[in-house]
């Protein structure tokens, strides 16, 4: 098995000590089947125990190890050494404040995930001793959108979120769309009041970077475009008093 020396340039930053982030170099002997996360673990275990980064599952399930690898938001457990040049630059996810080294603060997006009401809303009480049913065909309409693991790579890729972080952003909006498409849900109209408000879907200019970097192929960009159509239709429905509700 061949081993290759990888030169890692890792961004370091300790807000309590450092004035500004800086890069530190490590040389890591990497077997070709390693991923970037393996190389980072090697650094922490063998070279420098002070390096801070998040990870947990090492199998594309937990969504903790998102970082910028050579400028692209990536899950480091999915980014193979064999696909990379000898020099690799690792940075914390773009568009987020740095907590330390490669760890960023996600509080803003967590708030947004709450804001979009990502749960089933009903106007009636649930049927007694029964559950709401769903056919496989009805599930297929939104199944892709349930694959999100909240790694936030899409937020790091989104130029609009980078410009103005009031924008609700790709993952949260895609999650909201998942509930809008769920046949058991009746909250679409109420949810659209939030999703299609000024900081909502309209801020998206369909660059599509979110979908390109998504490690789980959720395609938030497509969800957003569908939501724009829903928002435009809902606008006129509300204006023409066809919602059967307030307004």
């Amino acid at each position: 098995m061949s081993t290759r020396n990888l030169e890692l340039e890792v961004m370091r930053y300790d807000p309590e000590k450092d004035e500004a982030p800086y890069f530190q170099k490590y040389t890591v002997p990497c077997p070709e089947e390693w991923v970037i996360l393996d190389a980072l673990n090697y650094v922490r275990d063998e070279l420098d125990t002070t390096l801070a980064f998040r990870w947990s599952c090492h199998m594309m399930v937990c969504g903790s190890c998102g970082m910028m690898v050579n400028g692209e938001p990536s899950l480091t457990c999915k980014t193979f050494i064999r696909d990379l040049p000898d020099k690799v630059r690792i940075e914390p996810l773009e568009n987020f404040p740095i907590e330390r080294d490669l760890i960023v603060v996600f509080d803003d997006v967590i708030q947004k995930l709450h804001k979009v009401q990502p749960y089933i809303m009903r106007k009636d009480a649930p049927p007694e001793d029964k559950e709401f049913t769903q056919t496989p065909a009805q599930l297929m309409k939104f199944k892709q959108l349930t694959m999100c693991i909240n790694c936030m790579c899409c937020y790091a890729a989104c130029p609009q979120y980078g410009l103005d972080n009031n924008f609700i952003g790709p993952a949260a909006l895609a999650l909201a769309h998942r509930y809008n498409l769920d046949n058991r849900d009746q909250g679409k109209s109420e949810r659209l009041d939030i999703l299609a408000d000024y900081d909502g879907v309209w801020e998206c200019s369909f660059v599509g970077a979110c979908s390109e970097v998504c490690p789980k192929h959720v395609d938030p960009a497509a969800a957003l475009q569908q939501m724009k159509v829903d928002g435009a239709v809902e606008y006129w429905k509300q204006k023409l008093g066809m919602t059967g509700e307030k307004k």
Partner: protein, 113 residues
């Protein structure tokens, strides 16, 4: 919270985009054909004038031009934003004013035919 008015211009943008993606490739081909002297029979001046004189013709032309204008206006607004000019309100007012003016002029000229 309510749905933002951007829904209106986005609706026109989307409708315009859908329409123009079909109509404009054909128009480009026809333009090239015409410029090479191969004018299709239905596009001879008299024929086309007659088409534009009928109410159905007027309606078709109005819908295509109106939606194209609003599509282009909104597209330009987003492009300007993406190029780093952060004067959204001003840009929006400018492009939509041109689109509105174009819409009025389109209606006016079509009615005079």
């Amino acid at each position: 919270m309510t749905i933002a008015k951007k829904a209106v211009v986005w609706g026109l943008f989307a409708a315009g985009g859908t329409l123009t993606s079909f109509v404009y490739p054909a128009l480009i081909v026809l333009f090239l054909l015409t410029s090479m002297g191969m004018v299709p029979a239905n596009l001879q001046f008299d024929q086309f004038y007659a088409f534009a004189s009928s109410w159905v013709g007027k309606l078709c032309l109005f819908v295509v031009l109106f939606l194209s204008l609003w599509h282009a206006a909104h597209r330009l607004r987003v492009v300007v934003h993406d190029f780093g000019i952060r004067q959204d309100k001003l840009v929006a007012r400018a492009v939509y004013t041109v689109a509105s003016l174009g819409t009025v002029l389109t209606a006016f000229y079509l009615l005079t035919i």
